[in-house]
Amino acid sequence: MSINKKIISLVVGILFLSSLLAGCVEQQADEQPAAQVPQEVVAGLGRDPVGARGAHPYLTRVFEQLVILDAEMKPRPGLATSWEVSEDGRTWTIHLREGVKFHDGTPFNAETAKFSLEWATRVRPGLLGSIDRIEIVDDYTIKVIHSEPHAPFLRSLFFAVMISPNAIDEDDRVIESIGTGPFKVEDYQPEDKLVLVRNEAYWGGLPKLERITLRYIPEATTRIMALEAGEIDMIIDTGGILPEHAPVLKANPEIEVMTIHGVVHHHIGFDTTTPPFDDVRTRKAISYAIDPESLVRYALEGYGKVMNTPVPPLYKDWMHPDLLFEFSDKDKARKLLQEAGWADMDGDGIVEKDGEEFKVTMHLAGGWVGRWPYKTIAEIIQSDLREIGIAMDIDVVDTGLYREMMERGDVKMTLIPIAGVSPRSAVKDTFHSEGGMTVAINPPFFSNPRVDELTEAAMKETDDSRAQRLLFEVQEIVAAEVLMIPLFEELMINAVRDNIRGYEMHPWFVVNWEDIHVVSEK
């Protein structure tokens, strides 16, 4: 018996000592100089960083553009070193950076730049304006000749990635993400993760990080839990962190919460071509029923700014100086409904017209619910509308199905994020009847010939103040007709663990991966 006891105490003693030793080893690892810490980062985000046109250029930095937009959204040289525009505003001469190679070894030059721009105009018609032709002047100079001036051309180059000709198949589909950026794709698991390794031959110098894993975590709560557990080192992208999660992360000393006013703004969109929203009075009633201030205060916890016009505050000069939209006046809302023929005849609190109750479904895209507090916003709007006698259902549908339903015209009312690379294109993309290149709410939601005319004119108008006046009129029409309801500009929330340094947020969620590094192990 006593021998047994001795053996047991010996074993316990050994276990105890070894655990102490393990502690020592760990401590040593902590004190290792930064240079020896593996330069690997795992970042979480709420969407798949790879889409139909390959790796997301700003989130992954696999691709680069001729022109980049800095944190103030001003154009800066990217793969172009300088540019000139002709007197008539139709011909752009672009000088290209020398000594740049694509990840597959293809040299970047006038020929590949021309190829990339032509590809971009094929897959996204109108993106770069109406380009007549692209000429190669010499190995590192191209001329882009438009058939008519396209004022936001320089900014729109931010959307046109330089891609290796080997990366595209005969149907213009991206088969592999081959760019010139500081990081290249090593592995991609759809709907799961993208692994990037550094581009040893990057023209801008060797990036500090060796490897980046971008993990697509659709569920917002799972995302922050992964960050807290140290499974991921940072959360990036617009809609990375829901406002309601920010206080939890802020209370964690190991995590730094960062914010920036981004380019993304959010709206209520409705189908103005079919009842009940084909009547401007019903649309106006909705805007009187809701209160964006309280949405920002309670659904966004203050992480946003009310907008009174569809142009985001980021482009202040382009915002209409007057407060165009009117909100939160339920009596006016009820009166407008009454004028439009809606009245509560049976006393059930829901208004009717021709024996039919005012019932509407707000469809929300599942992917967006995981990134922005759309569900809370919808529930507050639901309660606001009930007060004026409108029964609103909320239906969260799969993002793919949502897009199909939008195309089919099955969505009557929804919440939509919009982002514009320039004030001109932001407004045109949102309101022109042919829609745009970012998320389109139009078609199918409305079509207004005067708005088409004005937005087209603004695209051609190279003089900013004249273009601003054109867009002011668009904003006046949008507000008078309530073609949509601007809700708020988002304050983008990201977070990093304290061993990650160098991350700086960008309004267009560009990640400065080449500056980011790891200072100690978790």
């Binding site: 917002a220 709560t221 309601e244 939890v248 309670y298 809370t376 529930e379 639901q382 239906d395």
Partner: protein, 293 residues
């Protein structure tokens, strides 16, 4: 299963004896008591709830329990107690409707399969086999996913998944009961098939169905809460316990009362039905009587 069922049938007791048996079963009594209270809460919800369950009061959001809001408020400033009270009737309704549909369908098909035998039996039981081959909650998830999120679709999905076990048990019971002399006698007296099935055989197979239905209530309420938690069931602003849990999840650390109370409500209700179901089984099944506890 088969001979357990036979035992249960053979021990068919008059209802007074069931009550006498239950009276000795303390947990079952507690369960029955809780269920009675829940039924009262559900019926009287509009009168006893201190606030409107869907009325938002954004200035009063995320309040901890206090005098005005005994269980606090949620992220939209709604009274959690009122939502729980109204949620009781939602949950009980789901339970009763789903179990009702599932048991009716299952018992009818089980009776037909067991009594007719042959090809009909083969057909029904193979359908049962196919449905039982899928994990129930996953199948319900798939059905609710295809039909679209709504409380009705969740009930439908759970009923589609749930009837199979009733059919199986009833068929098993019928197989042994139909060989009994009183069935022979009824047949000899010229009773029709339907009469024999429903008047003579059915009363002899109800005991296991009652036990299953009681335990089934617990299972269905839990499954419905799970599906609502996943966003497939009750849609806002319906005060459903599962969706309340889901809504509160983001605030679990800053305002834990958003999840604790709905969680407790689900737990207590499910436990109550399980206690009662266990008690009924003990009473109705002499083989387990005494041995189980």
């Amino acid at each position: 299963m088969h001979d357990l069922v036979t035992k249960i049938i053979e021990s068919r007791l008059p209802s007074t004896e069931v009550f006498r048996g239950l009276r000795k079963h303390r947990l079952a009594l507690i369960g029955a008591g809780i269920i009675l209270v829940l039924i009262f809460i559900a019926i009287l919800a509009p009168f006893i709830a201190p606030h409107d369950p869907i009325e938002q009061n954004l200035e009063h959001r995320l309040l901890p329990p206090n005098a005005e809001y005994p269980l606090g408020t949620d992220n939209l400033g709604r009274c959690i107690l009122s939502r729980l009270i109204h949620g009781t009737s939602v949950s009980l309704q789901i339970g009763v409707i789903v179990v009702g549909i599932a048991a009716t369908t299952g018992v009818t098909l089980g009776l037909i399969a067991g009594y007719r035998g042959g090809l009909v039996d083969e057909l029904i039981m193979r359908i049962v086999d196919v449905l039982l081959a899928f994990p129930g909650i996953i199948l319900a998830l798939a059905i609710a996913g295809i039909l679209g999120p709504s409380l009705y679709n969740v009930m439908l999905a759970l009923a589609v998944v749930g009837w199979t076990s009733y059919a199986r048990v009833v068929r098993g019971s019928v197989l042994s009961v139909k060989e009994k002399e009183f069935v022979e006698a009824a047949r000899a007296l010229g009773a029709g098939e339907a009469r024999i099935m429903f008047r003579h055989i059915l009363p002899n197979v109800t005991a296991p169905v009652i036990v299953m239905a009681t335990l089934g209530m617990a299972h269905v309420i839990l499954a419905a809460a799970a599906l609502s938690f996943l966003g497939l069931g009750a849609q806002p602003p319906t005060p459903e316990w599962g969706s309340m849990l889901n809504d509160g999840r983001a605030f679990m650390r800053t305002a834990p009362h958003l999840t604790i109370f709905p969680g407790l409500a689900i737990m207590v209700t499910v436990l109550a039905f399980n206690f009662l179901g266990d008690g009924l089984r003990d009473v109705l099944d002499p083989r387990l009587k005494g041995a189980a506890r």
